[in-house]
């Protein structure tokens, strides 16, 4: 049995309820992880690029869960910036959003997101989706290490 080192997850989400559900699901999945939350796209960029109050000891996330519709800077723009900056460009980014618009799905994959997931509306289903997501990305997948 392999032991898992803590995985730094960055959740970019402006809905406080969804933040709580995500925290709960990840705790339930008993996977060692360190969840960091930013509430809008600009704060996410600040976190990633160590600016706006985020110091150089801010960890590089191993995995990013990114909402699409965000205040200030939207999720697509955040994704674009991640993919065009080599130290960050290999980090898996999962779009987690209420939208099921086909153009959002296509655009996300085109910009290099690793999966597009529509948040289930029902609470239990949302929890289950996050549990499977945690198992898939943290237990089964190999994440790229810092470049």
């Amino acid at each position: 049995m392999q032991s898992y080192k803590p995985v730094h997850l960055l959740l970019v989400e402006d809905n406080p309820d969804d933040v709580l559900i995500t925290q709960r699901a990840l705790k339930r999945s008993r996977i060692a992880n360190d969840l960091h939350v930013t509430r809008d796209g600009q704060e996410a960029l600040d976190f990633l690029f160590h600016q706006g109050g985020w110091g150089c000891d801010t960890p590089r996330p191993d995995l990013i869960l990114l909402d699409v519709n965000l205040p200030r800077v939207n999720g697509m723009e955040v994704l674009k910036q991640i993919r065009s900056n080599p130290p960050l460009s290999a980090i898996p980014v999962i779009m987690l959003t209420a939208s099921d618009r086909e153009e959002d799905v296509v655009k996300s994959y085109r910009l290099g997101s690793n999966t597009y997931i529509q948040k289930p509306v029902e609470f239990e289903k949302f929890l289950h989706a996050l549990e499977v997501l945690g198992e898939y990305w943290i237990v089964i997948a190999k994440l790229p290490s810092a470049a």
């Binding site: 460009s89 290999a90 597009y116 499977v132």
Partner: protein
């Protein structure tokens, strides 16, 4: 493209045991899907681009590709690169199944546009079941280009 619509999986795998495990696990995870198997990189390219024995064929393109890395004839890296350059498959999720856990292979795969890098675990069946649930139930796949 809804999560419930059928997945058309192309499995590129030259180990017959792993093919059987994957087929069985995908059936277990109760996800509607059809699966095509290519046994090396060249067969995969022929299927994807309607060449060789698939010249003139009319099958729908896959919307999920499971790609082993160590393949005869054309390597998984090469297949990944060619798939990403083709307009039809620019957004198609590609999951690498590899035995290597060298950091450089992992990072390179993600940079080339792989959607997930999975090291084939001892329990391949369980990993494929989770994969089937993740992509078949929760993820939204892009529509065919």
């Amino acid at each position: 493209m809804t999560p419930s619509s059928a997945m058309r999986i192309l499995l590129v795998e030259n180990n017959p045991d792993d093919v059987e495990i994957a087929r069985h696990a995908l059936k277990q995870s109760a996800v509607g899907h059809e699966i095509t198997v290519a046994r090396d990189g060249q067969e995969a390219m022929d299927f994807l681009f309607y060449e060789g024995e698939h010249a003139g064929a009319t099958h729908a393109p896959p919307n999920l590709i499971l790609l082993d890395f160590n393949l005869p004839r054309i390597s998984g890296f090469e297949v990944l690169q060619r798939v990403r350059k083709a307009h039809t498959f620019a957004t198609t999720p590609v999951i690498i199944l590899a035995t290597s856990i060298r950091d450089e292979n992992i990072a390179k795969s993600y940079r080339l546009g792989a959607n997930t890098y999975i090291q084939k675990p001892a329990n391949l069946k369980q990993a494929i079941e989770v994969l089937g649930q993740y992509w078949g139930i929760f993820a939204m796949l892009p529509p065919a280009a």
